[in-house]
Amino acid sequence: MIRDVLREECWVQSDMTSRIMAQLADEPTMVAPQAVAASQKISHIRPHFNKYTWSIAASVAAAFFVGLFLINQPEVAAPDLIADNDTDQYVLAHHNYAPTSATYYMQNVAYNAGE
């Protein structure tokens, strides 16, 4: 029905809601869970899963989800607010006049870009 709605091919009958409500009213009201027979209790699993096991399992699961959350975090980059060519002339001037700058030799790049 969802697919049909998405395709706008769904023809919802006007009395559908009232029929659903009537069926819900006919359902018996359950106020307490049905008692489980003593023989059916989960004692048979106790030798394998004691309270410590459950704690460890919960911790592992929590660590897994925290790790998954951290791994899937987007990389937080420093704000890069300056456009690429905005500071080219300053960088070039720095390389030209700084007392020690090996980048001196790559000036051709900036000159090419500036022309």
Partner: protein
């Protein structure tokens, strides 16, 4: 009679003192090597080919250097990209730069070019870096001592230098980030000592058919003004202040240069004129970091081959005296 084994505190103190003094001597020896390296690049006669690498950019440069009569003569020919020749005689540097239909001549002064990257006065470096002997390696067919210059703080990068064991010439130098990754590297591929003092080679050979013109943007004025940076990052000092014309800017731009002896940072101050778009923010390009903001109607841009926090710290400290 029982023998009593005594391990006196005095012995421990002497042992400790010996270890400390041994390490101090070793550190002094390394600084002596550095001093020899700083001098060798200026006083030896050599010719070679070195490669500069910064990220994806690689440039090969041919160098000839002669020390004659107390003067240095160097010719660097950039072999990749656009033709370019850099001549230096003492502190004066002249660059012949082929641009379209002409050769533009630019003038510079007082720059330390490879392999003379280390300052002759090492005192500022001793204040900001510690030396560590790494080992020996061959570079450009020559045996080199490898030393690490480890910064005392995170306001500058680490450097690794390869110093020729025989002559002390700087054969290679790398700039490393905080994680030890190479940001920038420059080193000889081949080098040989020269036994001639002939200076016939000391003339430009770049596009002799084209007219040579002086570049007016290199017309510098040394200035002093009301701008101050009261609390510079530890170890940095102002080494120069100039006023220059920057292409595309109508008003002259002031440039203050700071250095710790090796790392250098420029602070540019440009008056904001009508219609000028303010630049605010930071940018990182390999080893170069940029920080820009606006203060008192001036555009401030700090650029340097230093960590981002150093340029930011300088930019935040700028004040104008009344």
């Amino acid at each position: 009679m029982s023998l009593k084994f005594v391990f006196p505190g005095h012995f421990l103190r002497v042992l400790l003192l010996a270890i400390i003094s041994q390490s101090a001597v070793a550190e002094e020896d390394l600084w002596a090597t550095m001093q020899k390296t700083a001098s060798a690049a200026r006083e030896l006669n050599y010719q070679g080919l070195f490669v500069y690498q910064n990220g994806a950019v690689i440039r090969s440069v041919q160098i000839t250097h002669i020390y004659e009569g107390g003067r240095e003569f160097t010719r660097n020919v950039v072999l990749d990209g656009r033709p370019r020749e850099v001549f230096s005689e003492g502190d004066d540097i002249v660059i012949f730069n082929a641009k379209n239909d002409k050769v533009v001549i630019e003038k510079r002064r007082g720059q330390n070019l490879f392999p003379a990257m280390l300052p002759t006065q090492l005192y500022p470096l001793k204040q900001n870096y510690k030396l560590k002997f790494v080992g020996q390696e061959r570079v450009a067919g020559r045996l080199a001592q490898v030393l690490d210059m480890i910064p005392n703080d995170n306001l500058r990068y680490q450097y690794r230098i390869w110093s020729d064991t025989e002559y002390g010439l700087l054969l290679k130098m790398s700039m490393l980030d905080m994680q030890g990754r190479t940001l920038e590297q420059i080193g000889f591929n081949q080098v040989a000592m020269l036994h001639t003092k002939d200076l016939d080679w000391f003339q430009p050979k770049i596009d002799a058919t084209k007219p040579y013109v002086m570049d007016d943007t290199t017309d510098l004025t040394h200035t002093e003004d009301n701008l101050v940076v009261p609390n510079l990052p530890a170890g940095y000092k102002k080494v120069d202040q100039i006023q220059l014309k920057v292409p595309g800017r109508t008003a002259p731009v002031r440039q203050l240069i700071f250095s710790d002896g090796l790392a250098s940072v420029s602070l540019f101050v440009e008056p904001m004129i009508k219609g000028m778009q303010p630049r605010v923010g930071k940018k990182s390009m390999g080893s170069t970091n940029v920080y820009a903001h606006v203060l008192n109607g001036y555009q401030l841009v700090v650029v340097g081959e230093v960590p981002a926090q150093t340029v930011e710290q300088i930019a935040q400290q700028v004040t104008f005296k009344k």
